[in-house]
Symmetry: C2
Subunit: 155 residues, 2 copies
Amino acid sequence: MGQDKVSAVARPPKDNSPITEHLAYLLAQANREINRQLEMRLSKEGVPVEQWRILKVLSDGNGHSMGELADAVLLNHPTLTKMVDRMVSDALVYRVQDPKDRRKVLMFVSDRGKALSKRLNSLAVSQEEHIVESYGDKSTNELKRLLESLIDSSN
Amino acid sequence: MGQDKVSAVARPPKDNSPITEHLAYLLAQANREINRQLEMRLSKEGVPVEQWRILKVLSDGNGHSMGELADAVLLNHPTLTKMVDRMVSDALVYRVQDPKDRRKVLMFVSDRGKALSKRLNSLAVSQEEHIVESYGDKSTNELKRLLESLIDSSN
DNA sequence: TTGAAAATATTGAATATTCAACAATTGAAG
DNA sequence: CTTCAATTGTTGAATATTCAATATTTTCAA
């Protein structure tokens, strides 16, 4: 009698499903938790997660415009501008006007920024290793694959 | 020669891997995008995502303490207090002091809040249906399963 | 029973984010 | 070429979030 309960999670949620069955909620919850953990690790260097992202993106050595960078690090423009101001004060990055298009500003990482980036990367990698330990290799890779594909399908 | 490239994503990221290979980044990116979409739908009712969550949790009809609610809706306490203040002004929810433990405040949803909650649920469900359409039934359910299990393994 | 510690919620100040307006430059149509 | 629209980045004001301190109530040990 009744249908099989093949999995705890099935079909799009109904009006009265608990919020924990909504994809949007599960993503927010997982993101919050993982981000909190990463934040704790990075606090050893006194740096917020967003600055790790910025330094990592700039660490390819190329100049990146503010717009490009904002997309890459998941911040909107004014927020990025203000965070970059702070990082310039801390001598982690610097601005150069783009000679090809003088509306643009190209961001570069300084030597000091590169050194910090290395230390932050270690912390971030170690966090992910810790996740893989408790969550498993397969699950981690499968989850990453599905997230990438969700993002692709949303564009 | 070299190892098989079974998947684009393999193993924990190295120091120099692009940021897009980090689980923490993929989660943030996916969450941002899905949240943005949901936000757009809910803007029809002029309500932020967090208020949908609050109304949905309270819609079980039971009283929920602020602490309980803060956990459930992924907000920290002061932020929730202030958002609830607004919702009380809008007559969507109301506070009752818990008679069993007078430190606590129990939150309840009003009739007006219930009505709004219904409309918001429709919008949220329709969003998820839209995701399922482009992303697929199987992927969606598999992703939900993996997210739940990641959250479990992080406690 | 009393007093100290813990739990719960709120407040106000400090900080951060967002929105809308602006300035500068480029692109493109007439 | 000139002008107008689009692009890019920044700024300041409005809004929201967070941190630390506070008030209240409960718990628990002495």
